[in-house]
Symmetry: C2
Subunit: 191 residues, 2 copies
Amino acid sequence: MLIAALGKLPGIGPRSAERLALHLVQTDTDVVRQLAQALLTARERIQLCRVCGALTERQPCAICDDTRRDAALVCLVERATDILSIEKSGTYHGKFHVLGGKISPLNGVGPEDLRIAELEARFATEPVKEVILALGTDVEGDATGHYLAKRLAAKGVKVSRIAHGLPAGSGLEFADELTLSRALEGRREIQ
Amino acid sequence: MLIAALGKLPGIGPRSAERLALHLVQTDTDVVRQLAQALLTARERIQLCRVCGALTERQPCAICDDTRRDAALVCLVERATDILSIEKSGTYHGKFHVLGGKISPLNGVGPEDLRIAELEARFATEPVKEVILALGTDVEGDATGHYLAKRLAAKGVKVSRIAHGLPAGSGLEFADELTLSRALEGRREIQ
């Protein structure tokens, strides 16, 4: 049963699950109890920020609550974990909003299933000037971006999207055709 | 000797070289003769275009010679093979120029080792308005880009660089910090 439960975790296959389970049953009971307690506490405490939808232990989350961050900028991401990716880059000082997925008619996900109304509600209480779409660059991400650009522009905010192009540390020989055509199209003048 | 010669080809290790050699010595002599002849002919015929530095069988190359292409745009690439990558994307209709590498003090490559003077010479005979830097996004590519932007701007041409950002079909979770910070920095307003 432990093996089955562990095997459901992402990135852990049947063999890893077996190895983990064998390790756990041979470990000191106290250590296992601590791990179990940590799992439960984390699950109980972590909730979605009621403003931005990020994972947080307090309401609102530390980012929404940080007055030093630029409230005029809201970066829209698909998943709460995307916030961590952007925070690691260390160059963004605005706020975030988690969409909770992307529009995907094939999977039955429409605009009403995403946290778009919650975003629009923020425009009334926060001085939002620009929404930066930081969505994936696949077909669904692009479609969601187009939909949002139209819908949000009608609300009077500036809508931008992060650059599509050559990733850092790469050469032209590793880029696919679509990336290259977007990189060329999105070229910027060097002043 | 054949194994050693084959093993020097890119992407062919000792095992592949052995397999290829064994195959070749058991192949019909005529087929081998044809292959050898094709190698020699290609090596004799292929030369660098004296205008742009691309690999070509005629002077100037088909792209330089194509009057339907926009002569106001010159896309600057590191290697002749980069032209193929961009041509495959099918969205670029300007001309090219091969730099022949990038500035790399550690490897003893300075600006004078690259085909920069050849590019500047083209400004006198061609109606070049914009040079698009399509270099790799590593440290040396960036440094070369900065150097060229300064040098070419003094010649009165507009200098731009292809977009750095999220590659096509990717999500934020696969992007490194530097790519994300460049993607955010290079964000574009959606009209």
